[in-house]
Amino acid sequence: MHITQGTFSYLPELTDDEIRKQIQYALDNGWACSVEFTDDPHPRNVYWEMWGLPMFDLEDAAGVLAEVNECRKAKPEHYIKLNAYDASYGKQTTALSFIVARPSEEPGFRLDRQEWHDRTIRYTLHPYVAEKPHGERYNGQK
């Protein structure tokens, strides 16, 4: 199941060149970029791991793209996303966030139904990869 998330979730995957342009757009707006990765595909997982510190005072996208590529190399078969943080007063939030790498196979989710009192059904999403411990998901690639 192709997991989507973030600003360009409705678009096909961005090429490296398109990613570079998006980073440049963020930098031109004065947003600080950061790279994060995870192997927990649950949509409610908001705590991704940081790849290094956020990058401040950059002018050119090459520096950020180099970090993205470093992260792709070190964390193959992971989800990697790029965040751009707008620090200006009144915003102070993530202005742009999109996925830049994903595992080659995404098994998707199982829907669990729990029967509750009064014939109530409670639903929960269970990622198939979550059955394996952290770090061994997605073909066991760390």
């Binding site: 199941m1 096909p12 490296d16 002018e59 090459a62 520096g63 993205v68 792709r72 193959p76």
Partner: protein
């Protein structure tokens, strides 16, 4: 078990093969195609019998403005200016060659500026980044000026992230390392500077299209730095030596600075200033243009206190004119072997 496949519309068309997504067995790090500065506007390759107007190319890039500013704002430095013109010519010809489809490897643009203090190394580096930006060899054209402190860490494992952060900031522009010889300390083999040099070398080699590194420092110290780091020397194509200014050039620099500050010399003061420079030049710790600036700053101070002491009212003329007295009270005239007043207050 099989989950529903991709949503409609999210399929990846076969034509978009350059996806940045990591796939097993493909090195996505290498898939970022290095941008050729000349072909990004989608120009078609010219036929072999076509003619290219180089002077028109030159005018389009606007580098003549840079040269003009260089000539006007920087006195002397003839060999430096000549070298910059040569580099610009090479880059322009390379662009023209690329339009004919001739292979042009990206020229090595890393540079080394050597010279005494105050000979304009930083200023020229700023102009250089501007020029390279106009020629399309730098995407942003900004200058990040750093010294050893910004690159080298204080404990194990601190240096690499620090150096990399500086390099990331300099991407798309020029990284100017002032007093670069401090990076290498031969008396301490466990010095972290070596680690920083290694990272620099790697980036200078592999990311040539992303940034230009300019090292600067005294000639003799840089020479021993390169002797100890042959890898660094071979990766730098342009070694440019900044000569010391002659007396006439210093005089011109002084006048230029006075003009910019809105002052002028009285007629006698001009001779005194020249005399001052002549004496100051032979004294220790003479820092060329920087010493000239300091001398003028001090003269302004004396000028101001002189005006405050007079009881008469002062006119515009007096406010902008420096007299010989403002210079003659300098220590340079007082004692022949003193330190001079323009560089600090320490007296031998």
């Amino acid at each position: 078990m099989t989950p529903p496949d991709r949503l409609p519309g999210s399929e990846i068309p076969a034509s978009r093969v350059g996806f940045g997504m990591s796939r097993p067995g493909r090195n996505s790090a290498g898939s970022a195609t290095p941008e050729e500065p000349d072909n990004d506007n989608g120009e078609e390759t010219l036929p072999p019998d076509a003619q290219v107007d180089l002077s028109k190319d030159r005018a389009e890039t606007g580098i003549d403005d840079v040269f003009k500013a260089l000539d006007e704002d920087l006195v002397g430095l003839a060999p430096v200016k000549k070298r910059i013109q040569e580099v610009a010519a090479l880059l322009l010809v390379d662009r023209a060659r690329a339009r004919f489809g001739l292979s042009t490897s990206r020229p090595n643009l890393h540079m080394n500026f050597t010279g005494s203090p105050g000979t304009g190394k930083t200023t020229v580096a700023v102009r250089m980044s501007d020029m390279l930006h106009r020629l399309g060899y730098l995407r942003r054209g900004h200058l990040v000026s750093v010294t050893r402190d910004d690159l080298v860490g204080q404990y194990v494992g601190h240096t690499a992230p620090k150096t990399k952060e500086v390099l990331k900031r300099a991407m798309g522009g020029v990284l100017f390392i002032d007093e670069a010889y401090y990076l290498y300390r031969e008396d301490n083999e466990r010095d972290y500077g070596q680690e920083s040099i290694e990272i620099l070398l790697q980036v200078m080699e592999n990311q040539r299209e992303d940034l230009v590194v300019i090292l600067a420092g005294y000639k003799d110290k840089m020479d021993s730095f390169f002797a100890a780091n042959p890898g660094m020397s071979s990766r730098i194509a342009h070694h440019i030596d900044f000569p010391d200014y002659t007396l006439d050039e210093l005089n011109d620099i002084g006048k230029l600075m006075m003009r910019d500050e809105g002052y002028r010399f009285s007629e006698e003061a001009e001779k005194t200033f020249r005399d001052y420079l002549k004496r100051r030049k032979d004294q220790p710790r003479f820092a060329n243009a920087r010493s000239v600036r300091n001398a003028i700053e001090r003269a302004r101070l004396r000028h101001a206190s002189r005006l405050m002491e007079t009881d008469e009212s002062v006119g515009k003329d007096q406010l902008i004119t420096l007299t010989p007295d403002d210079f003659l009270r300098s220590r340079v005239f007082a004692e022949r072997d003193g330190d001079g007043d323009s560089d600090g207050d320490s007296k031998k």
